[in-house]
């Protein structure tokens, strides 16, 4: 058994990473909950947002946190158009088709990034990059601490939008009862695209918080796809609270299993959890029904 003095920093770091995972998963679970589609391009879209933040910083000197003002609306627009112009038209009413189309989009985005930016891994260096703060004996990188707080704020805003606004009500109505929503005059295609846009806007925010403590390369999204799906099935498909708690939990599991199993084998914990949840508890830990 390892000492608590090693375990706590690992848990604290896991919570900070888990917060980012949670925001990525929130976008995914929103898209799943409303459109009932599995967005396989979610990781690739996160990669696009990370490059956006990186370019804004290196070309125009925009601070990653200031970039929120650009990236959130930009990713929203990207998502809206993607759903409206491509995904919505390709489904032909079959789940497999949507999975294949979003896979195709992921492949295109990833390889477009490879062509434009090469396979090099890029990082940015802000004034905060190397600073750490002391959280009850655990040294946490400042960007990670900021990300933790920022992600919780973003999640609160998202939940407020869903609970209080007309758009949120329309989205929830559509998620529950597609025909009924149509009958009361909700523009289904528009609200679908809005939901997809909000899902990707979460990624725009996640990218701004993530990049100062992380890196970007064309395949960076792959690591997030399965993690985000794990969180979403763990938390129960379409459940916001589940995605938040699941994200934090997975962050801790990843960090602690890396500590015990070593860096290479440690990544396996997430995938094993994913398969176990799918097999034994497909409604998730917080989901009520299938």
């Amino acid at each position: 058994m390892l000492e608590l003095s090693i375990l706590w920093p690992s848990i604290a770091n896991g919570l900070a990473t888990g917060a980012i995972y949670a925001l990525v998963a929130l976008g995914l679970t929103l898209i799943y909950g409303v459109l009932h589609i599995i967005n396989f391009a979610h990781g690739a879209a996160l990669m696009v947002a990370l490059y956006g933040v990186q370019l804004l910083f290196t070309r125009y000197g925009v601070d990653p946190y200031a970039a929120l003002a650009v990236m959130v609306p930009a990713m929203f627009g990207f998502g809206y158009l993607l759903q409206r112009l491509v995904i919505g038209r390709a489904s032909h009413g079959k789940d497999e088709n949507i999975l294949l189309v979003t896979l195709g989009i992921a492949i295109v985005l990833e390889n477009l990034a490879l062509v434009l930016f090469t396979a090099d891994t890029r990082t940015i260096e802000t004034r905060w990059s190397l600073a750490t703060i002391d959280v009850a004996g655990a040294f946490i990188a400042v960007p990670k601490a900021i990300a933790f707080v920022g992600v919780l704020a973003a999640a609160a805003i998202l939940l407020a939008v869903m609970a209080r606004t007309d758009l949120g009500r329309a989205i929830r109505a559509l998620a529950k009862e597609r025909q009924g929503a149509k009958l009361v005059g909700i523009d289904v295609e528009h609200v679908f695209a809005m939901s997809f846009g909000i899902g990707l806007a979460c990624l725009g925010a996640a990218a701004c918080f993530l990049l100062p403590a992380y890196y970007v390369n064309p395949t960076v999204g792959n690591g997030f796809v399965l993690v985000a799906f794990t969180i979403v099935v763990l938390g129960g498909m379409g459940s916001f609270a589940g995605a938040l708690l699941g994200g934090l939990l997975i962050g801790v599991v990843e960090s602690v299993s890396g500590l015990y199993l070593g860096e290479s084998l440690g990544q396996i914990g997430i995938f094993v959890i994913f398969l176990l949840v799918l097999m034994f508890r497909p409604t998730g830990l917080f989901g009520s029904k299938a």
């Binding site: 390709a90 789940d95 189309v101 295109v108």
Partner: protein, 322 residues
């Protein structure tokens, strides 16, 4: 003449034509093209057995590819086994991994998108394992010793490889024909079209799907084993990364899922296209996969039955207009 006998004719013509290529063509680049297209066809055929005929979409077929490749390489490098002995073991390993994954996923009723994601997770787990243990060479991978000659299943020129790949593809065409006309194939397609209805009629859907994933796994493992013999090297990212999962899936979709010839047509079309783009844009990494992705979106949007489906629609239209 039974329908399955009638299907033999085109396969014989295709095999003879492909076998004549090394005698007629001297260009190394063209021979390499045919070898890689056959290799792609084999992977697409493997994916097609499970997804096209069985309706179970795998996003992680690389798990079988890598299993075959690593079995082939590790048996030769670590245990000194002859390549001809290693080959059937590699195929059996692919089938065994297929049975293992199938038993876990189908037993617990994973379908559609969930099955796709589960296969992807298995591919990732295998990649991490191959990346960790010394037996598989960890991150460095395995390199098989050079020993050109039939005895070691390695060849001086490309012609030998072409015949090996062709033999596998012809076997794949035979399997496709068998699925079209056999009782097992009928069960499998019934499960694809409506699992509940098939079960109500007495089809054991679980065992039928297990059979399909075992056959598919063995075929994909054959492609992995071929890869190791052709390029003499394998590492975790090559073996279990997303590239070959995607190539298998796109090849079958572009050609036409659930058809005998679709995967072959699709693989040759893809390789023609990626060669043409390489000539046009130079060898920029990413361009050919980008086109695969775009093609995947377009095919799903506009031609869900693939090239073979388009061709069939064209033929029936011509017939109607007569």
């Amino acid at each position: 003449m039974t329908p399955s006998m009638r299907a033999v004719g085109p396969i014989v013509v295709f095999a003879a034509a492909a076998a004549l290529v090394p005698l007629a063509v001297d260009s190394d680049a063209w021979l390499n093209f045919v070898v890689l297209a056959l290799f792609g066809a084999l992977m697409a055929q493997a994916w097609n057995v499970l997804a096209g005929f069985g309706g179970q979409f795998s996003f992680g077929h690389a798990v079988f590819f890598g299993t075959g490749a690593y079995a082939m390489a590790a048996l030769q490098v670590r245990l000194g086994v002859n390549a001809w002995v290693a080959l059937p073991v590699a195929l059996a390993a692919g089938a065994a991994v297929g049975l293992f994954i199938g038993a876990l996923t189908f037993r617990y009723g994973l379908r559609g998108s969930y099955f796709a994601l589960a296969t992807l997770a298995f591919a990732e787990i295998f990649r991490i394992l191959a990346n960790t243990f010394q037996f598989t060479g960890a991150g460095v991978g395995l390199q098989i010793p050079l020993a050109k000659g039939w005895a070691a299943l390695q060849f001086e020129g490309r012609a030998g490889y072409l015949y090996v790949a062709l033999a596998f593809v012809v076997a794949g065409l035979a399997i496709g024909t068998w699925l079209k006309h056999s009782r097992f194939g009928a069960w499998l397609q019934a499960v694809r079209d409506n699992e509940e209805a098939a079960q109500a009629l007495g089809v054991d859907a679980y065992r039928v799907k297990l059979g399909a994933i075992a056959i598919s796994g063995a075929m994909m493992a054959a492609a992995g084993a071929f890869y190791v013999q052709y390029l003499h090297y394998i590492d975790p990212a090559l073996a279990f990364g997303p590239h070959y999962s995607v190539e298998a899936l796109v090849g079958a979709l572009v050609g036409g899922m659930g058809t005998v010839w679709g995967p072959v047509v699709g693989a040759f079309a893809l390789h023609l296209l990626s060669d043409a783009t390489r000539n046009a844009f130079g060898d920029v990494p990413g361009v050919s996969l980008m086109i695969y992705g775009a093609l995947l979106v377009l095919i799903v949007m506009f031609a869900p039955r693939g090239l073979v489906g388009l061709f069939a629609a064209l033929v029936s239209k011509l017939r109607d207009s007569k």
